[in-house]
Amino acid sequence: MLKIGDVLLVSIQVELEDQVVLELQDDLAARIVDSGASGVVIDITAVEIVDSFVGRMLATTAAISRMLDAQTVVVGMRPAVAITLVELGLSLGGVRTALTLEKGLEILARRDDSRPAQL
């Protein structure tokens, strides 16, 4: 887990066991609070399949981050993964996605500008 400015970057590189997926979700929530990050990017460029378990984790993570005042963007989804997810019945409605890391960071930067100024 990397912190770039206000953003936590999580890059999923290996095929994850369910238990590791859950641990990642917990670690991320803790890191958001510790670091005061305002955004989270989850890079799934290397991920070959997203099944209902991982899909649910992405949705849950986005919801948890939102509650902790951070926005999540999932980047790098492969076309075959997107096709499969929709056919599986998981459209990940509550999850913001971007095609590339750069675009994901852009979305988060825009959001940050629109945060109300501190009094």
Binding site: E15, L16, E17, D18, Q19, E48, I49, V50, D51, S52, F53, G55, R56, R78, P79, A80, V81, I83, T84, E87, L88, G89, L90
Partner: protein
């Protein structure tokens, strides 16, 4: 359960499904065979995703079991068949279990119904108290 479902021909491999680790191994084995029979990338992804759902169900609801997987041939076509078998509690209401969104646990209820959509052939045999067997096949185009 007695083996009524299609059994992959000739050389098939068996993988025990008893841990999260085994679910990962099952996915990898299915992917290797899908590549070997030259399924398109999208079809590989669909098949491996379906296998992942079924392997997890075998583990979580079936209390563990086995996956048998291999290449199959029919009418000059080649495909990959994976059979997931457990001797767990079985599924009392199959129609309900195959309904999108229905779960008896804390899932999304998309595994079974989604897996059925993702493959070409899908058969489910189950007996309350006797276990569950789900067979899926994806054919190369």
């Amino acid at each position: 359960m007695s083996g009524l479902a299609p059994v992959p021909d000739a050389e098939h491999e068996s993988v025990p499904i008893g841990s999260n680790d085994d679910v990962v191994r099952a996915r990898q084995l299915v992917r290797a065979l899908a590549q070997q029979c030259k399924l398109s990338l999208v079809d590989q992804t669909k098949l491996v995703t379906a296998a992942s759902e079924l392997a997890r169900n075998t583990l979580v609801y079936g209390g563990g079991g086995v996956m048998r997987v291999g290449l199959v041939h029919r009418d000059g076509r080649v495909g990959v068949t994976a059979v997931f078998e457990d001797s767990g509690p079985g599924i009392p209401d199959v129609d309900q279990a195959l309904t999108d969104g229905w779960t008896s646990g804390g899932g999304l209820g998309l595994g079974l119904s989604g897996a059925r959509r993702l493959v070409d052939d899908f058969t489910l045999q189950t007996e309350v108290g006797g276990g569950t067997q789900v067979a899926i096949t994806k054919w190369a185009r």
